[in-house]
């Protein structure tokens, strides 16, 4: 419910350019999912005001049809949304463990003393906001410092003081890697998802020595990953099935335990978004369903004579759902692919086992996995 006061704030604070950009941001996301635009919109209001002001919160709420409390809750969660006016340059010094022991703490302490400001504070001339940061993902260049998020590598106290002095004197020192500096507000436009319009800025900054370390070593000694042939064909499912069947037949003939032939697992295929591609195999839906229900049945040879075809199979999707559920549970243990890698060894083992068992026992796998999930 926009009050008169709020409308007045909007009218006075944000330019037509910002509002046009806001519309562009919202259009990136599905029509009924406009809330996804909130993070970029918060970056956008910072591009005009340098921080997320009450007016900025109101603006985001207004354009997304949220209330201010909903926007405020998000804005206060993320480190990059500043709650007080910032300087033209945000100087962040990494003081996490690696940079810290390599001298980052000393750099930070020196800057605190030199600038006379502490963490998240701005110099009186409005030029520099200082902060200590938690791991900037450049440990091979430690200790590192960033200015408006572009890197200055391997800094020492003197070097850092030199950079901030140059900034305060109106200069723009060139980052070690990354593009030439812009102001924090200009950077916020890029963070909102817009291209860097400065001529040639995208081309700035080649790879540093540490980035190329292994590559250069390989190049010097003429080493490459062996056996790479980009023309290797992609095996179709039918071919994989055939290969597995042959392997099985061979194994049976040799009366040896079945070799670990790749693939050839019964798996049904349902809809596809890809036209003009042939069906992956020639199986009828009933056969696939049968294979799903009786994974141990002798169906390695597709549609072999005598294959039993029960007709009361469940709709294919249900097994997919089951498997998906199981996958989720298995993937649960800490982060499927996320950073907090606190995965216990046991869970990884389970994941692997499940991967091996694969479609073999989707039902059982799901039960086991659910149990694990419940304990978590």
């Amino acid at each position: 419910m926009p009050s008169r006061e709020r409308k007045a704030t909007l009218m006075t604070t944000f330019t037509e350019e910002t509002r046009a950009r806001a519309r562009e941001i919202i259009a990136r996301y599905p029509a009924d999912r406009s809330r996804s635009a909130l993070l970029p919109l918060l970056h956008l209001v910072q591009s005009e005001e340098g921080y997320v002001s009450p007016a900025g919160v109101t603006f985001c709420a207004e354009v997304l049809g949220l209330n201010k409390a909903q926007v405020g809750a998000v804005a206060t969660f993320y480190t990059m949304y500043k709650r007080r006016p910032t300087g033209d340059y945000l100087v962040s010094v990494c003081t996490n463990t690696m940079c810290n022991v390599l001298g980052g703490q000393e750099v930070y302490d020196t800057l605190v003393e030199h600038l006379g400001v502490g963490h998240d504070e701005t110099t009186a001339d409005g030029k520099i906001t200082l902060e200590h940061a938690e791991c900037l993902a450049a440990c091979d260049y430690g200790p590192v410092m960033t200015v408006n998020y572009d890197f200055f590598d391997g800094v020492d106290p003197q070097g850092a003081v030199g950079v901030v002095d140059e900034l305060r004197a109106g200069g723009r020192p060139m980052p070690t890697r990354g593009a030439r500096l812009c102001t924090l507000k200009e950077m916020a436009v890029q963070l909102a998802g817009f291209a860097d319009e400065r001529d040639g800025a995208v081309a700035d900054g080649g790879p540093g020595a540490a980035t190329l370390r292994g590559l250069r070593l390989a190049e010097q000694h003429g080493i490459s990953a062996p056996g790479y042939d980009p023309k290797t064909p992609i095996r179709s499912k039918a071919e994989a099935d055939r290969a597995a069947a042959e392997a099985k037949a061979k194994a049976e003939a040799a009366k040896a335990p079945a070799p670990a032939a790749p693939a050839a697992k019964p798996e049904q295929i349902t809809g596809s978004t890809a036209p003009d591609v042939k069906a992956p195999d020639d199986k009828s839906p009933q056969v696939r369903t049968a294979e799903t229900r009786q994974p141990d049945a002798a169906t390695a040879v597709p549609d072999a004579p005598g294959t039993k075809v029960p007709t009361d199979g469940p709709p294919p999707a249900s097994r997919d759902a089951q498997a998906a559920q199981a996958a989720g549970v298995a993937a649960n243990t800490p982060a499927g692919d996320g950073k907090p890698a606190g995965d216990e060894a046991g869970a990884q083992e389970r994941n692997l086992k499940e991967a091996e068992a694969e479609t073999g026992a989707a039902g059982a796998g799901s039960a086991v996995a659910s149990e694990t999930g419940a304990q978590k």
């Binding site: 993320y78 907090p340 890698a341």
Partner: protein, 438 residues
């Protein structure tokens, strides 16, 4: 600093890093001259299920830390369910020590874009997102440029290369929250909420982004896909070990002569990696190291020959994680290092669950007390007890990860703690940093 021996050099397998050395590989023209988008043309001629099978056959496992089999993850997406599917790339690199995804996106952004298109085609997604860490501005710059170039060339958008396949790709910058690297927190953040992990089940495979089937994969995982499409599953498996196939980018930092990125087959050892990095810095002796970022338990000099693959590191009592090996020497204090990591987890805890929010808050204070020379023997029990209450009782892996360095440093370096407590080591923190510690 010596030249590595030939047998150690042979461990190098430059695949994903290969193009970084070409200064213009981030431009689409140069990328195309270096096999770029050849994999896409090849993949679009295959059936999506054949691609999923190919990735399964390759044994590719997630490069973000947990090592979940990628093909299996893709296969879990229910097909023909009438719902939109999504591919979300986790580019929120921020695990302390980890620095492999940012250079990849900066110097070879098209390989990620190409991987995204192929993966989306395989799981039948028409929308994909790359959620990139907010601070990674230069990588985002290059990535946005790459997406625009790919769009202009018809590799993205409607009717890609005339196949009828549509894909929209958005590069979405985060805003500074480590927790958003946890896949469900990432999804919440992408939906415009605070980045807090979700209760599971349901899982992203069925109820991910916008409650629809979603694959969340790490940058390195998706960037591997074009190479597997071109070179085949058997070639991919020729690198690495039986259960951990393929090459991996090892990020070496700390007290070594030449820190940096080294791409080797999974299963290389730290001894070999240090040799590749020119040995330890003069005057430094290896004391402790993380195999895969700060969320993985510390290892010591006795683990130099542990094969760094998922199984080998697990057997040594740690986790492969992101293969970010931070190397510390006899001149570094494990107690102080752990304290700094805990400050990180305390700062980054999202606050949703009590064990992580409160546990890390209090452990930081106990560490400050110990490092200020005012610790007691009971403090060590308090730390272990707190870890016990966080590990396995937190909502997500962030809490579990926070305990890794505490318990492992107490396991290997208890004497260092006792030296502070019993006054043999000079305090590292002053009294004024102790406010609120009691």
């Amino acid at each position: 600093m010596t030249t590595p021996r030939p047998e150690t050099l042979a461990k190098l397998t430059p695949v994903l890093t290969r193009r970084w050395i070409s200064p213009d590989a981030w431009r689409i023209g140069s990328y195309e001259n270096l096999d770029g988008y050849a994999a896409l043309r090849k993949a679009l001629k295959a059936h999506p299920d054949d691609l999923i099978q190919l990735i399964k056959d390759s044994g590719l496992r997630g490069r973000g830390g947990a090592g979940f089999p990628t093909g299996l993850k893709w296969g879990f997406i229910p097909q023909g369910d009438g719902k939109p599917h999504y591919l979300v790339v986790n580019a929120d690199e921020g695990e302390p020590g980890t620095c492999k995804d940012l250079p990849l996106m900066t110097h070879d952004p098209h390989s990620l874009v190409e991987g995204v298109i192929i993966a989306s085609y395989a799981i039948r997604a028409n929308r994909a997102y790359i959620y990139i860490r907010g601070e990674a501005v230069h990588a985002a710059r290059r990535l946005r440029n790459a997406v625009a170039e790919a769009q202009a060339k018809g590799y993205l958008g409607r009717n890609i290369l005339g196949t009828g396949f549509d894909l929209e790709l958005v590069v979405h910058s985060g805003a500074g929250a480590y927790i958003c690297g946890e896949e469900t927190a990432l999804l919440d953040s992408l939906e415009g909420f605070r980045g807090q992990p979700r209760l599971r089940p349901p899982f992203p495979a069925t109820h991910g982004l916008y409650a629809s089937p979603t694959v969340v994969n790490n940058v390195g995982t998706i960037a591997s896909v074009p190479y597997i499409v071109l070179g085949g599953a058997d070639w991919w498996k020729s690198m690495g070990t039986e259960k951990s196939s393929g090459p991996m980018i090892y990020s070496l930092s700390g007290r070594i002569a030449n820190p940096g990125q080294f791409e080797c087959g999974l299963g290389v050892t730290l001894r070999e990696l240090i040799e590749l990095a020119g040995g330890m810095q003069p005057g430094h002796q290896l004391r402790f190291w993380t195999p895969g970022g700060s969320s993985t338990p510390l290892l010591t000099a006795e683990h130099l020959d542990v094969p760094l693959d998922f199984e080998g590191v697990a057997a040594a009592g740690s986790i492969l994680g992101t293969t970010a090996t931070q190397i510390f020497s006899d001149q570094d204090c494990p107690v102080y290092a752990t304290y700094r990591w805990l400050e990180f987890y305390h700062h980054e805890s999202c606050g949703k669950c009590t064990p992580c929010r409160e546990g890390n808050y209090w452990m930081v204070r106990v560490y400050r007390r110990i490092l200020a020379g005012q610790g007691t023997h009971e403090d060590l029990d308090t730390l272990l007890d707190t870890c016990d209450n966080i590990l396995g009782r937190s909502f997500c892996g962030l809490g579990d990860g926070a305990t890794s360095s505490v318990t492992s440093s107490l396991q290997y370096f208890k004497q260092d703690y006792l030296d502070y407590i019993e006054g043999r080591t000079a305090p590292k923190l002053s009294d004024k940093q102790l406010v609120g510690a009691h």
